[in-house]
């Protein structure tokens, strides 16, 4: 026994007691190879996964270091099987290398002939490999660089990519730091990415991921393709780039449903790229329209599957993914690893919050009781109808009204899933609605009005989940959501976390995040998922009855 802060469990989780004197040393030591899974108040849970260990290998750590770290900080004896597993898993990375060959172009090389033989015979890589050059080398079709990496990861032999990147067409981009500067973690994130070549930066919502992207562009100083989730987000990227960098509005093009400009820096939406016409993707040529030096993927956890396939063809270019969470509801974390790159930077939300870069949040779940008539309707409803019925309970309207009145004067967002409900709320609260039906221009106008304080209350649908910068929002009230999605919860909370101007007395703003749920229904069950997510992120969470408000 030694008095370490870490407990290594046999199911590959690591428990870190954060009140321990050596906790912060330990966290720094294990961060490169363990994924932070939960960070509630006393004990943080990390998990060892093959991806995490390979991430560490990609960053230059070896198994010996990992095992040494665990044994050094572990309070109890470390299960032997786990150590063996770590060594074996890490040894798998880099047995295969993708390299540039002066004659044959891209080749797959290995010092371990058995592994190479196994891989060549695998069905999954059939057709991706060319001629066998010698015992240890086989040619790779350049177009299959990404697909091959993806397939090799699935086979459990992730390849290390030494084939390098094309520089792309140079284009001067510099940060214009007049009156502001990059935060330390943003600099670190951009540096880690640049030295790693390609990869993903994980930062909480509101922590300024756009600026990390801009810093990466300044490093590359080359033509850049930015892929974002929607048009509003595209406009925000453009505004931010004009404001923070040497780029002018003319140098930045928007490639979306409405306009199709290709400029040295082009911002395209995922949607337009995945539009299919007659079975083909007509806008795919955008990817080849220029000799891009850098590709930025915003909200990489939402990257649609077709884009994954296209990304596979972009392997020769530098790629940076930006996201608040690597959790993908579709479980394709491995694809992000092999196609965009390993995780290059990660910081716990609470850390950045404690440094004052994002606002602290107070999360409250308000439970309303359904009246008996509604309970009967609910009890007899078809299972697929139940969630909607419970989510749209009429009793929520009065609760929302009371909450809005309680925080009168503070900029407030009411967020929901069902349009009918949103319109009902809007009518009751006398506030404008933004939904998928709202024209982009109108959306833009309302967001601007909200930012300027002209409009103090907005009712929004899930279109506002992502990448909308509303730094002034202080209160969010969610009345319904997509079945307790953790990812959605992260995004919605993110709307609130952008630090606003401190109050008149100089106290920093505290955001309030309310969730209104119907008691004893599936709504409450799904809310439990979200509650867990928030608590795991370290946010204080309370549950109150509507009557006690």
């Amino acid at each position: 026994m030694n008095d370490g802060p870490l407990i290594v469990q046999s199911d590959k989780t690591l428990l870190l007691e954060i009140d321990h004197a050596r906790a912060s040393d330990c966290r720094k030591a294990i961060a490169p190879f363990a994924e932070l899974e939960r960070s509630p108040e006393h004990v943080h849970t990390y998990r060892l996964t093959p991806l995490g260990l390979w991430n560490a290998r990609a960053a230059g750590h070896d198994a010996e270091q990992v095992i040494d770290t665990l044994l050094t900080f572990s309070r109890y004896a470390v299960p032997h099987a786990l150590l063996v597993d770590i060594a074996e898993t890490m040894a798998r990375y880099g047995r295969l290398r993708l390299e540039k060959h002066p004659v044959h172009g891209l080749v797959l090389a290995s010092s371990d002939r058995a592994v190479l033989e196994e891989v060549i015979r695998a069905k999954k890589v059939a057709g991706m490999l060319g001629a066998r050059l010698d015992d240890d080398t086989v040619a790779v079709h350049p177009s299959e660089r990404g697909n091959l990496k993806q397939a090799l990861l699935k086979l459990g032999w992730p390849a290390e990519d030494f084939a390098g990147y094309v520089d792309g067409e140079a284009h001067p981009i510099a940060l214009e730091t007049d009156g502001w500067s990059l935060r330390p973690y943003q600099i670190e994130a951009a540096e880690s990415f640049w030295h790693g070549g390609s990869g993903v930066v994980v930062l909480p919502c509101g922590a300024g991921k756009t600026l990390v992207g801009a810093a990466a562009m300044a490093h590359a100083s080359a033509t850049t393709l930015i892929l974002v989730t929607n048009t509003v987000s595209a406009r925000q990227w453009k505004d931010e780039l004009v404001r923070r960098t040497s780029l002018t509005a003319d140098e930045i093009g928007e490639y979306s449903g409405t306009s199709k400009e290709v400029r040295p820096v082009t911002i395209a939406t995922y949607q337009v790229l995945t539009t299919r016409r007659k079975g083909a993707y007509p806008h795919l040529e955008l990817l080849d329209a220029r000799d891009w030096g850098l590709i930025v993927y915003d909200e990489v956890h939402l990257l649609p599957a077709p884009i994954f396939r296209m990304t596979a063809n972009l392997q020769a270019r530098r790629r940076i993914g930006l996201t608040a969470t690597l959790v993908r509801e579709d479980g394709r974390e491995g694809d992000v690893f092999s196609l965009i790159g390993p995780k290059r930077y990660d910081a716990p939300w609470k850390d950045i919050e404690s440094q004052g870069w994002i606002a602290p949040a107070d999360c409250v779940e308000v439970r309303v009781s359904l009246p008996s008539s509604d309970r009967l309707t609910y009890a007899t409803a078809e299972p697929e109808e139940r969630y909607r019925l419970a989510s749209c309970a009429r009793e929520k309207v009065s609760v929302v009204r009371r909450l809005v009145e309680k925080h009168a004067g503070a900029p407030t967002l009411v967020i929901g899933q069902y349009l009918e409900q949103l319109h009902e709320l809007a009518a009751d609260l006398d506030a404008p609605v933004i939904s998928g039906e709202t024209p982009v221009k109108e959306r833009q106008r309302l967001y601007d009005a909200f930012r300027s304080g002209e409009v103090g209350l907005l009712v929004v649908s899930k279109v506002a989940n992502f990448s909308i910068d509303l730094p002034s929002a202080e209160i969010a009230i969610q009345v319904s959501g997509s079945y307790g999605s953790r990812q959605e919860e992260a995004q919605r909370l993110g709307r609130l976390l952008r630090p606003g101007t401190p109050g008149p007395d100089g106290t920093p703003k505290t955001a309030h995040f309310y969730t209104v749920v119907s008691r004893d229904t599936v709504d409450a069950d799904f809310a439990a998922n979200r509650q867990r997510f928030l608590a795991e992120q370290g946010y204080a969470y309370r549950i109150v009855d509507a009557d006690d408000l």
Binding site: M1, I7, V8, Q9, S10, D11, T13, L15, E17, R38, P40, E41, H42, V43, T45, L71, S74, R75, Y76, A77, V78, P79, H80, A81, L83, D520, Q531, R532, A535, E536, Y539, A540, Y541, R542, I543
Partner: protein, 660 residues
């Protein structure tokens, strides 16, 4: 070696008690049943089966020395040693060992091997005695911090104990059936592997070890079907500290002849072996385990078997020490490597310090040493807002039981992570906990403030708990007229009927309908029977136990063995004395076949002529002068002096033997 003997029996008679005891300890098959005297002992030591057994235990050098003495012996020890290509000192020691084992004796003509050795297959195919070398080939090792080995092994030891506990706790509640073949079903094994977070060979090992330790046995479940159940011993085992529990498991594994490594492999008929079937035993596995671990323990602390080459070097090492062991030896060594690591005797290729103590026989010291490395029990938990509770070490048993009721286990290991869910809180309430008790329990055991969501969860669960009530009743009484039910309730005869009013128009009774109905009629009420469904739920006991198999107490084994050896020595001595006190002519008296054999072997060893009384096919007894050559399978091959030819004699027809 100045004294030379006429026969092996002669030499044994001259041995000291210590020498005799050493022989019997090394060749325990000679002691059962206890031989009458030295002559019989010598005779038994020369039987084929006993010789083969003794040869199995020889190393390569000893075999080479023995080989050098076949067929004619050697005039002196020096001569024998000089025939072997090895250091004189090592070869001399090997020769002395052969003499101690009564495989070689000092005849009047010099050193000779015991008759019978020459006819045996001594060296297996593929083994050469040409250059045996002085000792076994060295192990290939590399340095590794001994403390690290200890930590990793103790981690495995802790896991193994915890998993056996988990295994048997689960089977106590839901026991798996015993297959008709006697084993455990493949599906049950798979389920256990998933539950214990181990692979199937790992699960099979834990199951077999639990059975070997007497914690698991076949017994009837509540339906009377044969099932695998924890034994009564388990209840005692579970109460002991972790280190003691580990020692029990490790000892059982070291001693067992069972081969868990075969589970899942195909038998010769192509069928997979099931765990716990009786066939999974090997007479050599326990020795292979002991020798493998002894070889590993021969490395000094701080040195472990080198990765890759270390394993094969152990195999080569053991092949030298026991060249006659079969080829399956390499499997047995490989199993020992993995199994000892899973059970926490070894880690990273080295033997843990506490396991060294165990191997040297000091169980108490081993237990103490291990206890110092295991996590100490804690009496508190850390509650968190995500409704988890972390116990930062193994919880005290009673606390663990209570917490296990109120919360679900999410992750196990040195620490345990529990999660409170509506279902787990309801489960606690089902078992009679009130919300107030739950609140005070979590507040008392938590070192951190109780988070609001947990308080809310308990209250919220309590709110809906018990809204619908269920109870037992034997019969109900129903009437649309409330007044008539009130009359029944207050009737003087109703007091003994166990009536209770649930609603204005419903009464229930705890009296069975068969009794209730006549009583009501006696009381002048005229009821009509509405339905007759009297099914009663009987609570089943949730933990079942099998009777522990009877087995020898471990510690007593060694002492008992020693006592037995000395008793046999005493018996042999007494026999010798009795023989010596007989007048010389008495040696011609009729003998039983066993005595005849001893005399004959003595004559074989000495190459002497004897006179035997032999009953021929017609039942006529005649004396014959013969020179015995060998005894095998109840037949004596001998040179018949009168016939001047080799003849076969049936041993059971030899009525007497005396020197010619």
């Amino acid at each position: 070696m100045e004294t030379w003997y006429r026969s092996l029996a002669d030499q044994l008679r001259a041995w000291s008690d210590e020498q005799l005891a050493r022989l019997l300890a090394a060749r325990p098959d000679l002691t059962t049943p206890a031989p009458l005297d030295s002559a019989q002992l010598a005779s038994r030591a020369a039987t084929r089966s006993s010789l083969l057994r003794a040869l199995d235990g020889l190393d390569l050098l000893s075999l080479a020395v023995l080989d050098a003495l076949v067929p004619d012996g050697a005039p002196s020890a020096e001569a024998a040693v000089s025939r072997v290509e090895a250091g004189a000192e090592a070869a001399g020691a090997a020769l002395r060992r052969l003499q101690e084992l009564a495989l070689v004796w000092e005849s009047t003509a010099g050193l000779r091997c015991v008759s019978g050795v020459a006819d045996l297959p001594r060296v297996p195919q593929g083994v050469s005695l040409a250059a045996p070398g002085d000792g076994p080939p060295d192990l290939v090792s590399s340095p590794r911090d001994a403390a690290l080995v200890d930590r990793a092994a103790a981690g495995a030891a802790f896991e193994a104990v915890r998993r056996v506990e988990l295994l048997l706790d689960g089977w106590g509640a839901v026991p798996p059936a015993v297959l008709r073949s006697g084993g455990l079903g493949v599906r049950d094994l798979k389920a256990v592997a998933v539950r214990l977070h181990v692979d199937e060979p790992g699960a099979a090992l834990l199951i077999e070890v639990a059975a070997a330790a007497g914690l698991l046995a076949a017994g009837p479940d509540e339906d009377g079907n044969l099932a695998w159940l924890p034994t009564a011993l388990y209840d005692g085992w579970i109460e002991r500290p972790v280190a003691e529990r580990w020692t029990v498991l490790a000892r059982a594994w070291l001693a067992t002849a069972r081969t868990p490594g075969l589970v899942g492999q195909r038998d010769p008929a192509g069928k997979g072996w099931n765990a716990l079937v009786t066939e999974l035993v090997s007479s050599t596995i326990a020795e292979a385990r002991r020798m493998t671990l002894a070889a590993m323990a021969s490395l000094p602390p701080g040195e472990v078997l080198a990765a890759g080459t270390g394993g094969p070097s152990v195999l080569a090492h053991l092949q030298w020490l026991r060249p006659r062991r079969p080829q399956t030896r390499s499997h047995e060594i490989a199993w020992t490597f993995t199994e000892s690591a899973v059970l926490g005797l070894t880690a990273l290729g080295g033997v843990a310090s506490y396991a060294r103590l165990l191997l040297s026989g000091d169980d108490v010291a081993a237990t103490d040493a291990l206890a110092g490395m295991l996590p100490e029990p804690v009496d508190h938990i850390l509650l968190q807002a995500d409704l988890t509770a972390v116990a930062p070490g193994p919880l005290e048993t009673s606390l663990a039981r209570r917490l296990g009721i109120a919360a679900d286990v999410e992750s196990r290991g040195g620490a345990t992570v529990y999660r409170f869910t509506p279902a787990s809180v309801r489960r606690a309430m089902d078992l009679g906990w009130s919300a107030v008790e739950l609140h005070s329990f979590v507040a008392a055991v938590s070192r951190t403030p109780v988070p609001q969501p947990l308080t809310y969860l308990i209250d919220d669960t309590a709110r809906t708990f018990g809204v619908v009530r269920v109870g037992l009743a034997e019969a109900y009484l129903r009437a649309d007229d409330e007044q008539s039910l009130i009359e029944v309730l207050h009737h003087p005869a109703a007091a003994s009927l166990g009536l209770r009013r649930l609603a204005p128009t419903v009464l229930i009774s705890t009296t069975p309908l068969a009794v209730l109905l006549p009583r009501l009629r006696e009381a002048g009420i005229a009821p009509v029977v509405e339905a007759a469904d009297g099914s009663v739920h009987v609570a089943r006991p949730d933990a079942q136990r099998a009777r522990a198999p009877r087995r020898a107490a471990e510690g007593a084994g060694v002492a008992r063995e020693a006592a037995r050896v000395s008793a046999v020595v005493a018996a042999v001595r007494a026999g010798d004395k009795a023989a010596a006190s007989r007048p010389p002519s008495a040696s011609a008296v009729a003998l039983d076949p066993g005595g005849a054999l001893a005399e004959l072997r003595e004559a074989i060893d000495a190459g002497a002529d004897v006179v035997i009384g032999y009953v021929d096919n017609h039942g006529v007894r005649a004396d014959r002068v013969i020179r015995p050559l060998s005894v095998e399978g109840g037949q004596l091959r001998a040179y018949d002096v009168r016939a001047d030819d080799e003849r076969l004699f049936a041993v059971h027809r030899i009525s007497s033997v005396r020197p010619a």
